[in-house]
Symmetry: D2
């Protein structure tokens, strides 16, 4: 396994869905950063289950405790240990999966790799693993905000076939995002998305979607070509999120259909610095931030756990009909918003620190 991300701002997550705790260690956070549990709790609250009818009914308060690395409200420069208790695990719900690998879940692959049917409910592949990411990401975000003024805002831009208009050019705030349970700042689309999710839920089914993310005030120069291009690190961070299946930066896949004369971003003078008139590059050129907002999108598949009957086979290869009993989200998108923001923050904090000494 590889549960550490980052080179200089380095985060290690731990804990299984149905063990006693989940958490993260943040190593490399500069000292003297003001930090309290409430800085972290706000993002955990946005991630936690049970926020609305659109999400799983698993009930976790997800209160974070800071076990080390902070003293008298300031980071010490030492590892920051963050822990959240698991209080509502019901492993009984998951007994069936000891004999039947759930389709499009990690049950089979974990068993093939590690030689045992790990902890029930997915262990490390379940959604609770992302708590450590969100907690650590909140530390990164605080660092980025205090030191550089970086602002990161993600939202649900598509659910199933319902897609919101492109709002990446607007200065969307988290308040606007949180105005609807589905976390789409475009009110009309948000209503339609919610209806779509509820319809899927009623059918015992699930839906996928897309999250858009914009990072403002990222200083130019971040990203370490050639292999640690900022776009490459973001892609890796996003695809490491459970259920993520696609990533695109700037114009992405749509831009691949166009011509250079339409897609190039012309330079203009902006408040004393060179900026670009358009931002089809998504704020990154040659793998390095150019001072424009970072803009990217992440595609999530529909939740694999569904209440509808599925014709599959058990570990012995015998045909079975499987109908999920555990609690689950009909659509992970609303709760994935703070996870996307967290992963973006982790990448940016690491790049920001690495950029410090790139030239004489």
């Amino acid at each position: 396994m590889s549960n550490t991300i980052g080179i200089r701002f380095q985060v290690t997550t731990f804990g299984e869905s149905h063990g006693s705790v989940v958490g993260a260690i943040v190593d490399g956070c500069p000292s003297r950063l003001p930090l309290s549990a409430s800085d972290i709790q706000s993002q955990l609250d946005r991630r936690r289950p049970g926020q609305s009818v659109l999400t799983t009914s698993r009930n976790e308060r997800d209160q974070v405790r800071i076990l080390s690395g902070v003293d008298q409200g300031l980071t010490l420069g030492s590892p920051i240990a963050l822990v959240v208790d698991n209080t509502d695990s019901r492993s009984v719900d998951y007994q069936a999966i000891q004999t039947i690998p759930r389709p499009s879940h990690a049950d089979l692959t974990y068993r093939l790799k590690y030689g045992l049917t790990a902890a029930s409910g997915g262990g490390r592949s379940g959604a609770r693993e992302t708590i450590g990411r969100v907690a650590a990401g909140a530390v990164a975000e605080k660092f980025l905000a205090v030191k550089f003024g970086v602002q990161i805002v993600a939202w649900v831009s598509a659910v199933g076939e319902r897609e919101a208009p492109d709002m990446t050019g607007e200065a969307i705030t988290r308040d606007q995002v949180d105005a609807t349970a589905v976390r789409c700042p475009h009110a009309q689309t948000a209503r339609e998305m919610a209806a779509l999710i509820e319809a899927a839920k009623k059918d015992g089914d699930s839906v996928g979607g897309i999250i858009a993310c914009v990072c403002r005030n990222v200083p130019p120069g971040w990203g370490e070509p050639v292999f640690d291009k900022l776009s490459a690190l973001l892609a890796r961070a996003m695809l490491s999120i459970p259920a993520a299946k696609g990533f695109e930066i700037g114009a992405g896949f749509a831009g691949a259909r166009g011509r250079g004369s339409e897609q190039n971003d012309m330079f203009v003078l902006k408040e004393g610095r060179l900026g670009t008139r358009t931002n089809r590059s998504g704020g990154i050129q040659g793998g390095i931030s150019n001072g424009e907002p970072l803009v990217f999108r992440v595609a999530f598949k529909p939740t694999a756990t569904i209440a509808r009957e599925q014709e599959t086979v058990d570990y012995a290869g015998r045909p079975v009909k499987l109908r999920a009993q555990g609690r689950h989200d009909p659509c992970v998108l609303p709760r994935a918003v703070p996870i996307v923001e967290a992963m973006a923050a982790l990448v940016l904090a690491d790049c920001g620190i690495q950029n410090a000494e790139c030239r004489m």
Copy 2:
């Protein structure tokens, strides 16, 4: 900069477009692997410029030399140094860019980060940097083929708005791919793609597109959750390629529009192992290979360098009209095919080695 990729099969590339050489060091390749320059040369030949009217007229033979790590046709376990000479660099073509940052190029960001207008022609951000990747990737591919029987084949699946039917389910060979200069195995689409590229070239313009890649015989269990999920590592590797703007695995963005009941891959018994009836997961579940073929796509933007006049500004912010003079590809896709294959091979070789000792 960060010019090293991989943890156990570790590759470092070096060399500027207009310096004397480009190359790579491969560290961590197991000893006793049969390896000769010809194993590497074949992929370099597929990458090199001047192969057809569809590509740049820059003329490089790109002959690789193995400077270390191989003795009497076998790898030694020590670092394999691979070098290719730059023989046709014409830095004179690139004088204009000393004063004008080319739109959607890395000129400005490199200057902002490193404090100098690096070498002309892009230095490390130019296409020649990928020679080191392709050379090292060929070593990884040899290792994967000999040790595990892995086969990697990529092709151009879209150029501009012209998209080939999905052929990822067929056992496409490199011969089929190379049957057309545009490297699309679907003959009718290939003709239309070629026409589209030639039209763009005539207009002094460029086009983008998509490359599909399939990796067969990847053993189950590869990939290191949670952050080094196989899908995450592939995403990072692909987005580190110049001009790459998007990545999707399996059903990707399209799958995000569907429902769980349509997108899940049901298990079936296949020759004594559990396989899946469909492969919307793209061969990866929970970040770990499941024994099905890996299937992913990479989006490339249109070449930023175009002969058409662009209204931009120089480094001083003064409006200028820029018309590129250097040689360039109207479409990078055909030459990017071996690069995508190389990056896939680098990721897989590293994962294969890391998987060796994951359980008692």
Copy 3:
């Protein structure tokens, strides 16, 4: 800060001396290894304070809890989180050090680096940080014992000027080591060492010493030249222990005084393999284990905290007389024995895993 060691068997420690907990995350331990808290507790008990009159009177039970990574007595392959509560921290003892940097302590350097007078009592530089090492090391040791039969035994070979005869050629057991409070298996020397420590204690002073360590049954082939030579990794691991000031492998510094004809180890046939008649190399040649026992020594300086008055200056540079009030060990050596063993285990577990796929 950098609180992670290892590439494939990777350990991150966390927690300050006077915070609520100390602990470690072990990532990369193979799945299906039998593991329980008692495997870990035995080494923590050997490390904990208050074992005898020779050690600090700080009273900590140091009971380890396994928070993740183990289910039904087997490792899952996921990160193993280990936590020990701090129950007897008395930060009041350490008030003086807010204004006066203790000589030969890390107070000043931490303040210069991190910009604050961290947590009292040394924070991360204090002895309690080593709990995470010992806990993680016990996991590594279990893995090494079960998988390879590796046995690691360290002991106190010198205290001050009192040095035991060389016993590295004998199969010393931990029982023999623990037979005396000073942890020297040579009974007569042990008595003299104890007297020497007690004399120093009575004088309000402290003494240093040397720990010898032997690792048996290490398979040949471990170590990754050229920079991760086994000897180099051991040196780094040992010098990372608080108060460690020197490391030597095999004949070490004494061997540097000899001639090649005396120092070379001649090969002989041993039970079907090539072994060496002598072991001046300490089990490593060219940075790779050769199948003979690993033999190395670590020098520790005298405890910096002493009760005798020291003429030094405060942070403002004003002359002061400092007399330590906190509890402290007059000699760290007896308690450092399990720490040295732990660090050796961490290095070996990582090398053993890395060696798995070095050749075809």
Copy 4:
């Protein structure tokens, strides 16, 4: 194999003793550093064979070529490729070792690990591998000198039983060191050392010794506890040098014999900063530089290759008498001086860069 050292100032070496080249890639060197081949050549000249009767007669000019990363006398921020040709390899000298592993050499361990009797003459374990280190170290040294004023000077402090007085408190220069062929700045001892080496040579034997190294003007705050303590990184770097068997910092092993009241370094006010009256810590406390000179020593075993007959066994275990025919140094110490300096520079450059962003 692991041929890369450093996290941010990262060096990869490559090339076998008897292949066509040896060299190094330096990645992470800040841009805009003035750098030319002559900066590097001077240290290579100090390392190269054939400098005096005290060293091997192998004749290599060891001229370095900079293949990338430098343009118009300035570093670009991109990887700096450094190559030196092997011009005097005589693999014929080494035929015997195909059947007989040389005692205390890496022949057997390489064969056990990599499954083949690598290149003759040691391949990667031979002395020529250190050329890459010295070349890369010279780049690090230039960076450290220009950016921080760091000065690194090593010398031979002991040969066999002949030990020079401690001169680490004096500001020894490289000119003083190079005044004698043996590279000991204490003239009387240097003469005796030379006699001792010549006597060993005449006997077909070899001698070991100790190198002392002092690094001045290292800013306080360098080193990343807990595992990347500056002392730990130096220990690892030094023990990675061929034939190195021991490392000590400051008072080291001798200090372990003393009492705390004698060994502690009292603080004093020095030109506006807190310094220490004595420097038994060797410039490092808690793993972090304190502003005093770094002082450490490295023990080297006698050259394993000797002309005297050795009674050993061949790979089949049959008793043989071996008498080395190849050229070799009767004492590696004089040529190891620039290697020790190079490894110190690599560690310091990496720590200096990492220290840049440790606090708000």
